[in-house]
């Protein structure tokens, strides 16, 4: 018997170092006093202060948050309905087109999705701005929401819905009283996933945004192209912190739910 403990531990350490070292360095250097991002010159929070004073950056962050909150809501509703159609309605005509339309954007290069949406908005004569980003993001993230909700629906015992109908609940009542409560954790996950994907998107937003609707990734991107700056490090660290906290909260909520169950 070979002892695999040492190689396994080495692999885990090396793997996680590769995954987390760049992020860690980024956060560490956001507290660097020097403007030179690669030379440590003592601890400082000056870049965080500078960041909050940067009105454009704050405005973009707000745009991003609004877009994300709205588009994720649309995506969750649409994705839930789509998941239902795929999981519960059996076969219907043009189902394969529907399935293709639902799943293709997951793997499709973002450039193509962004480009095609831009052409649509131009052809329809719709002015680009906040709402076009919302629509584009809702389209992208709806696919992911569908996947998440569908996975939960697939393991949800169909006889629960039948039992509700058997006990006199109509289709709407069954959905509201049985399906929705049981689906709630998946809906929350779907919304969170959609929210994060929207907050993260650069490419699609670049295609469909207009003047005055610059999202945070677009703003960061335009600065990053000019080189590494401590202010961006600070911005990134803040975003990482928010996501980290959200993940911790989600994990804790999951544990808590399992305990009360």
């Amino acid at each position: 018997m070979i002892d695999w403990r040492i190689p396994r531990l080495t692999m885990l350490l090396a793997g996680f170092a590769f995954l987390y070292a760049p992020i860690a360095l980024l956060v560490i250097y956001s507290f660097n006093a020097s403007r030179l991002v690669t030379v440590w010159a003592g601890f400082s929070t000056r870049w965080y202060a500078a960041l909050l004073a940067d009105e454009q950056m704050v405005a973009s962050a707000l745009v991003s948050l609004k877009v994300a909150a709205l588009s994720a809501a649309i995506a969750t509703v649409n994705g839930t309905l789509a998941a239902f159609a795929l999981e519960r309605f059996g076969r219907f005509r043009t189902r394969s087109i529907f399935v293709g339309g639902i799943y293709a954007p997951i793997v499709m290069p973002e450039v193509i999705l962004g480009l095609s949406l831009l052409l649509l908005f131009v052809a329809l004569g719709i002015g680009r701005g906040f709402w076009t980003i919302v629509a584009a993001h809702a389209t992208l993230t709806m696919c992911f929401a569908t996947v998440v909700v569908r996975a939960r629906l697939a393991v949800l015992d169909l006889s629960l819905e039948e039992a509700a109908m058997d006990l006199g609940a109509g289709p709407v009542s069954t959905f509201l009283r049985i399906v929705l409560p049981l689906l709630a954790p998946a809906l929350i996950s779907a919304y969170m996933l959609a929210l994060i994907l929207s907050l993260d998107d650069l490419v699609i937003a670049s295609f469909v945004s207009g003047p005055g609707s610059t999202t945070l990734p677009m703003r960061i991107y335009s600065q990053v192209r000019l080189g590494v700056s401590p202010e961006i490090n600070a911005m990134s660290s803040l975003l990482l912190g928010v996501v980290g906290l959200a993940l911790l909260a989600a994990t804790a909520a999951g544990r808590w739910r399992r305990r009360i169950d």
């Binding site: 396994r8 760049p22 360095l25 690669t38 193509i112």
Partner: protein, 301 residues
């Protein structure tokens, strides 16, 4: 309940996502196809509108005569597109291969850890996916730059005499892609490994197979679906990647996503960019269809 026709309620429920997909996904794709087949005329909008929305059928047919495959011929003649296409495939392919070589042992190490640690470890491996893609790519700039952290460290340790020129090369792009897409590859491999019944390995050992033989004859073949899924999940979007080559690559790292972006925003040559998009899509649809078929076959079995 399993019928060909749907009830009214079901129709209503299906209607919203269906319309959304039709309007914001299928219609735009049709439009891209349309524009890729129209003349390239520098104008605003930068394509000759081959037909107006809501135009009559007759006009549609008349316009159809003016369809042109010029953009596609241009695509083939333009060495830039062909070159960037090949570069994209090569970079995505190499990156996927490296990612598999990193992800598989890592996934295996996680699966073989104690059951209590497993959820935490796989959670940690996938967590970076939730953080901003842009930020994760950006983090590598500071590391790989000529006066960056990696070179600082290497010089300080005396491992190299002069800074390595990694930044702004294809190598940097490959590193960036592997890093960004690693969670996508780890997760399906982990899932397929985790589903494997531990008694299979015990049975193999009981029948006299060494640990290495067991791995090659039992563990690896059974995890093949996970490996294929992970590879496709990474390869396809990596081919069209724009952010990573733009930030980490050099001026000679011309990937197809970037070429299309440039054609669109800088050259304002929409028909050519559209033709590029359609060509890329056609190139990528093949593996997806193949994968779907494969999964269907597996589901049947």
């Amino acid at each position: 309940m399993r019928k060909g026709r749907l009830s009214t309620g079901a129709r209503l429920a299906l209607g919203a996502p269906y319309l959304w997909i039709a309007l914001f996904f299928l219609a735009p794709l049709a439009l891209v196809l349309k524009i890729s087949l129209s003349m390239s005329v520098i104008a605003q909008p930068p394509y000759e509108p081959a037909f107006a929305f809501g135009a009559g059928l007759a006009e549609w047919v008349a316009q159809a005569q003016k369809f042109s495959t010029e953009s596609y011929r241009g695509l083939l003649d333009d060495p830039l597109y062909l070159q960037s296409c090949l570069t994209s495939l090569a970079i995505a392919g190499v990156s996927t291969l490296i990612a598999l070589l990193v992800a598989y042992p890592l996934a295996l190490a996680i699966v073989r850890s104690s059951p209590r640690l497993r959820p935490l470890l796989i959670g940690l491996a996938v967590a970076p996916f939730w953080t901003s893609f842009l930020i994760r790519v950006y983090a590598w700039i500071a590391i790989l730059k000529e006066e960056g952290l990696l070179n600082h460290a290497l010089l300080a340790l005396g491992l190299v005499d002069e800074p390595l020129a990694i930044f702004a090369t294809n190598t940097a792009v490959v590193i960036g892609i592997v890093y960004s897409y690693l969670p996508f590859v780890i997760l399906p491999i982990y899932n397929s490994l985790e589903r494997q019944d531990a008694s299979l390995r015990e049975a193999a050992a009981d029948l006299g197979a060494s640990e290495l033989q067991t791995f090659w004859t039992v563990t690896l073949p059974l995890s093949a679906p996970g490996v294929v899924a992970g590879a496709l999940l990474m390869f396809i979007p990596a081919v069209g990647e724009f952010v990573i080559p733009d930030l980490l690559g050099g001026s000679d790292t011309i990937m197809i996503g970037r070429t299309m972006w440039n054609d669109f925003f800088e050259n304002r040559d929409w028909p050519t960019a559209s033709a590029g998009a359609i060509a890329l899509l056609a190139l990528l649809v093949g593996p997806i269809v193949w994968f779907e078929r494969r999964q269907m076959r597996e589901a049947v079995r």
